[in-house]
């Protein structure tokens, strides 16, 4: 039996997109800790959304007579110094922390990826200049950058979103630029180019899906840090600025003097921050494992 001549089929450029996401989703759903994380996040999201329905009291109104009562059936988490229901304040605080945190990450993501894409795509002088700007932002460590920007812009939710967002954008910029540079030289991109695929097709089908995944992971993890940073700003007195509005960080500052007599006033907002941060961290780790199948366990 002679072996017939084998016709070599020109393989079409594989569809990387659909299969990748579906597989990743399935892997994510099988990841226990990730599901715990998603549950934590969901609790706070629903708590924040349904706050007006769940909370029995207005978080901004209270009478001094009711002040500093411990947890009871009437007030699940007790009352603060001014008699306001702590449970309601924690729920409404979730609104601020979650929205400000997530939007801040979103700002950072958009700004950072734009800069990173331009730098990585254009190369040369543009790349050099943009990366120096990124370096300047990175020179100020951690939350200090956000503090500085809020000091400059003043109080307010939008200002905090911008401040925290700007302090995260360098990370995303570097991440995307690094991905683009590495992918440009990777074997399968060169292979696609040699098969005559147009640069746009290469960008969309091959480079973006691979560059996106570390961004998604980083953004989720950044959300965890953002919630902490937003609370930190509130703690330092740089919060949204409206004294009636409940913000977790500010709640901690206000209650710090009463640590001995009313520790629950620190416990509940503190726990809220920690649990929501844990949620995003677990989800971020789960996404990382789900989206990169080559990771060794």
């Amino acid at each position: 039996m002679t072996t017939p001549p084998v016709a070599i089929e020109v393989a079409s450029i594989p569809r990387t997109s659909r299969g990748l996401w579906r597989d990743a989703f399935r892997r994510l759903m099988r990841n226990g800790p990730a599901i715990v994380g998603m549950v934590c996040i969901a609790i706070f999201v629903f708590g924040a959304l349904l706050a007006p329905l769940i909370a029995r009291y207005d978080p901004t109104i209270g009478s001094l007579a009711d002040g500093r009562q411990g947890p009871s059936l009437a007030h699940l988490m007790g009352t603060d110094l001014q008699g306001r229901d702590e449970f309601a304040r924690v729920l409404y605080g979730a609104r601020i922390s979650l929205t400000v945190g997530v939007v801040a990450v979103f700002f950072g993501l958009v700004g950072g990826t734009l800069v990173g894409a331009i730098a990585g795509g254009a190369g040369g002088l543009v790349d050099g200049v943009l990366m120096r700007v990124v370096d300047v932002l990175l020179a100020v460590p951690g939350i200090l950058l956000a503090i500085g920007i809020v000091a400059w812009l003043g109080h307010g939710e939008i200002q905090i979103m911008l401040a925290v967002g700007i302090s995260y954008s360098p990370i995303f910029a570097r991440l995307l630029r690094g991905s683009l540079l590495a992918l440009r030289e990777s074997d399968y991109v060169i292979a696609a180019r040699s098969m005559g695929a147009s640069p746009t097709r290469i960008l969309m089908r091959h480079m973006l899906p691979n560059a996106l995944t570390p961004l998604i992971v980083q953004a989720t993890l950044a959300a965890a840090t953002a919630i902490i940073d937003v609370a930190g700003l509130g703690f330092l007195g740089l919060g949204p600025g409206d004294p009636r509005v409940a913000e977790w960080g500010e709640m901690l500052t206000d209650s710090s003097k009463f640590l001995q007599s009313a520790p629950y006033l620190i416990l509940f907002p503190g726990a809220a921050i920690v649990i929501s941060a844990i949620g995003f961290n677990l989800l971020g780790d789960g996404l990382r494992e789900a989206l990169d199948p080559r990771l060794k366990r």
Partner: protein
């Protein structure tokens, strides 16, 4: 090697200049009027505004102001605080040792506990030990410094009265501030006082160092696991070397490389975190000074402090990079 250091320095200098420009503009571009209004805040009256503008030279052309600013910086003149009129540099030198003490304490905690934990987890991957270590490090990065700080204050200070929670030392001890390092001053003053200074260092160091601890643990674990799977570790075993030798000479020597880089980066996190920690524990370091300056609209201080912090951070990064190049023969000898 020398070329490497010079190149890194050359990159750092424009960054600092860029930052100084931005900070310089920061003061000039404050929303709500000019810099004089911002500094005076509620106390702004037209006469005071005019006085400040004249005394600070705010009415001169921008580039003139900038060059004068840079010139003064090189002479160590960072301006003076509006709150107490003292030179920024003077107050800085008095307050900075406290922050250094705190940073060192936190670093010792983070590295001293983080690396052994990471190695432990890597030795038994996916076991219960590993799970516990991973859970601890997850918790570590999810607890903000101030929440942990107050929790520690509550348990160890308020409830158990084991450790002090306020300031660097017990003020009743009346230790003369020579170096402004509480520990050193305490040693200089007499034996027992050191214990008090160290006791005051414990809780803040734990609070500040927990996030770096978590990060260092994770990175050490990952680095040790990665290196353990490398071919040269297999070769080392094939040569009949003992486990101990393989671990120390072959695995750890290579795992140190990424770990030292991370430790360097964490110093930045420590500097930033000091701001929060000093506020919680009422330490008179540079961190709490940033906060009070912002609250007091003492913007010249804020501007100078941010520049100084950034310079320190860049210097630390440079040292880390050089250290890495030194440790990694592939860079050192090429």
């Amino acid at each position: 090697m020398a070329r490497f250091i010079i190149r890194r320095l050359l990159v750092a200098i424009p960054v600092l200049f860029g930052l100084s420009v931005i900070l310089f503009m920061f003061l000039r571009l404050l929303p709500g009027g000019g810099p004089a209004e911002a500094i005076l805040g509620q106390h702004a009256t037209p006469e005071l505004v005019a006085k400040i503008t004249a005394s600070q030279g705010l009415d001169r052309p921008i580039y003139e102001q900038y060059f004068e600013y840079i010139g003064r910086l090189f002479h160590g003149d960072f301006g003076s605080s509006f709150v107490d009129g003292r030179q920024v540099l003077d107050t800085f030198l008095i307050r900075f040792p406290a922050t250094i003490e705190l940073t060192i304490g936190a670093l010792i905690f983070a590295v001293g506990l983080g690396i052994p934990l990471g190695r432990l987890a890597a030795r038994h991957p996916n076991s219960w030990t590993d799970g516990i270590v991973t859970a601890i490090s997850l918790l570590g990065i999810s607890i903000p410094v101030f929440v942990l700080g107050y929790t520690l204050v509550f348990f160890f200070g308020v409830e158990l009265h084991w450790l002090p929670t306020f300031g660097q030392i017990d003020l009743r001890l009346d230790i003369p501030p020579v170096t402004h390092f509480a520990v050193i001053d305490a040693i200089l003053a007499g034996h027992w006082y050191v214990i008090d200074a160290l006791a005051h260092l414990v809780l803040p160091s734990i609070a500040l160092g927990t996030i770096p601890l978590a990060v260092i643990t994770r990175i050490t674990r990952a680095a040790v696991i990665d290196v353990s799977n490398e071919d040269y570790v297999r070769t080392a075993r094939a040569k009949g070397l003992t486990d101990r030798r393989v671990n120390d000479r072959h695995i750890m020597r290579n795992a140190w490389l990424p770990v030292t880089t991370v430790i360097g980066l964490q110093v930045g996190a420590l500097l930033a975190g000091a701001v929060l920690t000093e506020t919680v524990f009422s330490w008179n370091g540079v961190g709490s000074w940033v906060v009070t300056s912002i609250q007091n609209h003492d913007y010249i201080v804020v501007q100078s402090l941010v520049l100084i912090f950034a310079s320190i951070f860049l210097l630390v990064n440079l040292i880390v990079d050089v250290g890495y190049a030194f440790l990694n023969p592939r860079i050192r000898y090429s």
